[in-house]
């Protein structure tokens, strides 16, 4: 008999045979159901029983309707889909048959794409440079970053909040390929910046100040997203996203914030800056300029800057001046500014229905005594910020005082978080930062025609070399780009971080980011809210 069956199965190709029999079976099954439905009955219909019958029919229909939301519309439930992708033991699980959608940069270059030969595979053309912002999607190592955040979206499982849309989804064909995701990052800038860091521990962030759009979000050292396994055990923590998860003392960069605070208070005092430094209160160490220490090392004595105004103090990055300025501003103004800067909150830079990507919250203590401000004003002590937050702060100065929410998702709307200061104050601060680049610590970055404004930072850390910072914007009048560079344990900001920022600025200029103002078309786009369509 089995021979005969075997022959039967080979007459029709295997799958067609099953399909034909399935259809005939369902046909007979349906016919028989209808025959029973209309079979003659000797009993007359009575009211009581009619009600019971109606109850049965309604309840069965309700159960069938609910069953449909799983059997047909299961793909609109993201936790169910995630469960099936993981625990469905079938040889060809339906939930995994959809090709995962690609991720593009702002110019349509592919930064993550499905691999044609492998259902689970993922290809990252830029390798290590994009490992941090995008994360990875790996059969054994799991999913992280944007890949995780947009997991169900990229897999084609639309999630509508609207009930009507949800109901429509039930009748949709399951898609064969997930929709694509477009980021605001520019792959070429990202790659250039990543290469400039040459594997050092550091961060490069490039932003558009008017919209908070992030063009590059580099954390170095990167890791191989095709094989992320070893990254977590290697030296220097390559799997750690320094740009968003690292907390650093901002050092002299914080003088920008203090200057802004003072100018908002309409203070622009002249302080005497003696060589021996400034003592804010008894039993606190004196705060001195870095020149004091370099003279000491040569065996000379630093005479001090004498009387400085704010502009000069910024140019020389004078600790003694800004400590006094911080103390003069007072706790109230300082605390208010910290609140406007949102330092103690995580910055959300990407959102999806499931979750959001955000930085860790920074740390700014609530100050009660004036004397405490002497140390905080120069960005040392308890104050800690993520590099992305520093970049956002710089962008706020570049954007005439409006702090914009950083964004990586092209479809995300532009959102203003807060106002740091008035446009006039921002203009004044930019002018001081311009002076830093013309004649101060940032001289090496004075690129012809770009009108760069910048500020160096050298943040002392308890052990190891100082962290080198440089944050800048260009051009002065209407900045189109903000660059923030951090080299962990890199030494002086002007020596380690500044050259990287300079090269990045040149690269951005070659791509036309610096001289041409940003096209604000994104502002007009409708908010994508929750569910997004292909």
């Amino acid at each position: 008999m089995s021979e005969w069956l075997h022959k039967f199965m080979t007459i029709l190709p295997e799958e067609d045979g099953v399909r034909v029999l399935k259809i005939i079976f369902l046909f007979f099954f349906g016919i028989v159901a209808l025959v029973i439905l209309f079979a003659p009955s000797p009993a007359p219909g009575k009211m009581t029983y009619r009600m019971l019958r109606a109850g049965i029919v309604v309840l069965f229909l309700a159960v069938l309707g609910y069953q449909m939301t799983w059997q047909i519309g299961g793909f609109s439930r993201s936790d169910f889909v995630r469960y099936m992708r993981r625990y469905d033991k079938r040889p060809t699980p339906v939930a995994r048959q959809i090709m995962r959608g690609p991720i593009f940069d702002c110019r349509g270059l592919v930064v993550a794409a499905p691999r044609a030969d492998d259902m689970w595979g993922r290809r990252y053309p830029y390798g290590n440079a994009f490992a941090h912002p995008i994360g990875y999607y790996h059969p054994r190592c799991g999913i992280t970053g944007i890949e995780l955040l947009y997991d169900s979206y990229l897999n084609g499982y639309l999630q509508e909040e609207d009930t009507l849309e949800k109901a429509k989804d039930l009748f949709k064909r399951r898609p064969e390929e997930g929709p694509s995701l477009t980021l605001t990052l520019d792959a070429r800038l990202q790659e250039t910046a990543f290469d400039l860091l040459r594997g050092r521990k550091g961060v490069v962030i490039m932003m558009r100040p008017m919209t908070g759009t992030i063009l590059a979000l580099v954390s170095s050292p990167g890791f191989n997203p095709h094989d992320p396994g070893p990254a977590s055990i290697e030296e220097n923590m390559p799997a750690f996203n320094r740009a968003t998860q690292g907390l650093y003392p901002p050092g002299s960069l914080f003088k920008i914030v203090i200057a802004t605070t003072a100018l908002m208070e309409k203070r622009s005092p002249i302080f005497s800056c003696p060589g021996m430094g400034y003592v804010a209160a008894d039993n606190t160490p004196p705060i001195r300029d870095s020149e004091y220490y370099s003279c000491e090392r040569r065996g000379a004595i630093w005479p001090g800057w004498g009387n400085l105004n704010m502009r000069e103090a910024m140019t020389h990055s004078s600790n003694v001046y800004f400590s006094q300025l911080g103390v003069a501003c007072g706790p109230e103004a300082f605390n208010a500014m910290m609140k406007r800067l949102h330092i103690n909150e995580p910055l959300i830079y990407m959102k999806s229905v499931d979750d959001s990507l955000k930085t860790v919250a920074g740390n700014a203590p609530v100050v009660r005594y004036r004397s405490k401000l002497a140390m905080l004003a120069i960005g040392q002590g308890e104050i800690l910020m993520t590099p992305l937050h520093v970049a956002a702060m710089t962008a706020a100065i570049a954007n005439d005082g409006d702090l914009m929410a950083p964004r990586v998702d092209m479809a995300e709307t532009v959102k203003k978080l807060d106002t740091l200061c008035s446009a006039g104050v921002a203009q004044q601060v930019r002018s001081m930062m311009r002076q830093v680049v013309i004649s101060g610590t940032g001289k090496a970055c004075n690129l012809p025609g770009l009108e760069v404004c910048g500020k160096t930072g050298t943040a002392q850390v308890p052990n190891g070399e100082d962290h080198a910072w440089f944050t800048c914007m260009a051009p002065e009048k209407h900045p189109n780009i903000v660059v923030t560079v951090l080299i962990e344990n890199g030494g002086f900001g002007s020596a380690a971080a500044l050259p990287v920022a300079k090269e990045v600025l040149l690269a951005a200029d070659r791509l036309g980011y610096v001289r041409k103002p940003e096209v604000m078309k994104i502002l007009k786009s409708t908010p994508p809210s929750v569910g997004r369509k292909k």
């Binding site: 008999m1 075997h6 025959v35 079979a39 003659p40 109850g55 609910y66």
Partner: protein, 428 residues
């Protein structure tokens, strides 16, 4: 309806249903055996086919017997039983429940179907032609038998997945159900007037009758609660409510009663950890996806893989669902026959139950009428609880799917009940 027409109508259309079912069965069999032959050529066994052969020969014997006895009941009821048991045999064959059959050593998997057909015939004989009225005398006997079985379960039974079983995994719950329906039909039909009294539209039964009901119903119910069998408690209470409604003919009974059943069931979770776990899974199976939520999520995964048209019989993988042959057989069905197949299946079930309720209209005595309603309700509620449990519309209750789930006691009882309903639908 003319007499001659009725004769032709009843058995003849049931025979038609049988023939079409047989064709559907043949298609499914060819598909299943073809895949089997394809996967392991030359190793197709003939012994597992015996239940199908028994079905194919047994049903015509029953039909001929009915025709000879001039059965003129509702062919919709008879037809549904024929199709549903065909689907049961088919899906159990597919799930490999009959693989162990060996004519020389192990014929036990064949027994439920054979006994079930016998029980069906017995049921029809007991109640057809309006001769079921005498069974009213058995009401109290049935009651004490049910109590006896419940007490025996309490003493001898062992807990298994929220249900109580006697040795050999016989589930006596199945027997309690019709026995208590007998009792209720007897008790309520004698006090029909008391329960249909109303005070300004609200049904207020006379106090002694109500007290009697509370006491007599309370005993088996509290035993069921002590047994921690949530499924049995829901089932019994819902049957009671439906039967009260059939007596009083007041929607108030149905509305208040069903709300009460829901509340009582919900409070079960405070005395039974098993019931509590089932509520938790129902509310969110993703809390413990690999533990408590595993079965329901695997069942839903199987359904999702089926989609509209199903994977085809034999080509799915419903065996990934734990205990798929009994409680979760509906998930297997949904995967391989698809949503469309499920619609047909539930359409057949719904027809069966609505015809069952309708049959109550032709009965001669109030007792038979209530018996018909109660028996139909018992199967209907059972179906609903099982299907809703598998699809996560309601918490799982561990109740089997009539005619289709694996389990001898279930099949025999369901066929016996179906036989009684079939008989009740014929009073000529």
């Amino acid at each position: 309806m003319k007499k001659g027409q009725a004769i032709i109508g009843s058995v003849a259309s049931a025979t038609g249903v049988y023939l079409i079912s047989l064709m559907a069965l043949t298609c499914a069999m060819l598909s299943l055996l073809g895949i089997e032959a394809f996967l392991n050529p030359g190793r197709v066994q003939w012994q597992p086919l015996l239940p199908l052969a028994l079905y194919a020969t047994g049903v015509p014997v029953v039909l001929i017997w009915l025709a000879l006895n001039h059965w003129r009941g509702d062919s919709g009821v008879l037809g549904s039983v024929i199709v549903l048991s065909a689907m049961g045999v088919l899906i159990q064959f597919r799930m490999g429940s009959y693989d162990a059959i060996d004519l020389k050593t192990n014929i036990y998997p064949l027994l439920p179907l054979a006994l079930g057909l016998g029980a069906f015939v017995m049921g029809v004989t007991l109640t057809s032609k309006g001769r079921g009225g005498w069974m009213q005398m058995l009401g109290w006997g049935a009651y004490f038998l049910a109590i006896g079985v419940l007490v025996a379960m309490m003493v001898l039974g062992k807990q298994y997945r929220g249900g109580v079983y006697l040795s050999g995994n016989i589930n006596p719950t199945e027997v309690i159900k019709p026995l208590l329906v007998f009792f209720l039909a007897c008790y309520l039909s004698q006090r029909q007037k008391d329960f249909s009294d109303t005070v300004s539209g609200i049904p207020i039964p006379s106090f002694p009758s109500l007290l009697g009901l509370v006491i007599f119903w309370g005993i088996p119910l509290s035993v069921a609660i002590l047994l921690r069998d949530m499924g049995l408690v829901v089932l019994l209470n819902t049957i009671l409510i439906v039967m009260l409604f059939a007596v009083a003919k007041r929607l108030g009974f149905l509305a208040i009663g069903l709300a009460g059943v829901a509340a009582a069931t919900f409070s079960m979770q405070f005395i039974s950890s098993h019931a509590q776990a089932r509520f938790d899974i129902w509310l969110n199976p993703f809390i413990d996806p690999t533990g408590k939520g595993w079965q329901i999520l695997q069942g839903l995964t199987a359904m999702y893989s089926g989609g509209w048209w199903g994977s085809g019989l034999g080509t799915g993988a419903p065996e990934t669902v734990p205990i798929v042959t009994s409680d979760f057989i509906y998930a297997a069905f949904a995967e391989e026959v698809g949503f469309v197949g499920c619609v047909f299946l539930l359409l057949i079930y719904a027809t069966f139950y609505s015809r069952g309720f309708r049959a109550a209209g032709v009965t001669r005595t109030p007792f038979e009428r209530l018996l018909c309603v109660g028996l139909t309700a018992s199967l209907a509620v059972q179906t609903l609880l099982n299907v809703a449990g598998v699809t996560k519309a309601l918490p799982m209750t561990g109740i089997t799917l009539p005619f289709i789930s694996h389990g001898g006691s279930s099949l025999v009882t369901c066929l016996f009940i179906a036989g009684l309903i079939c008989g009740l639908s014929d009073n000529e």
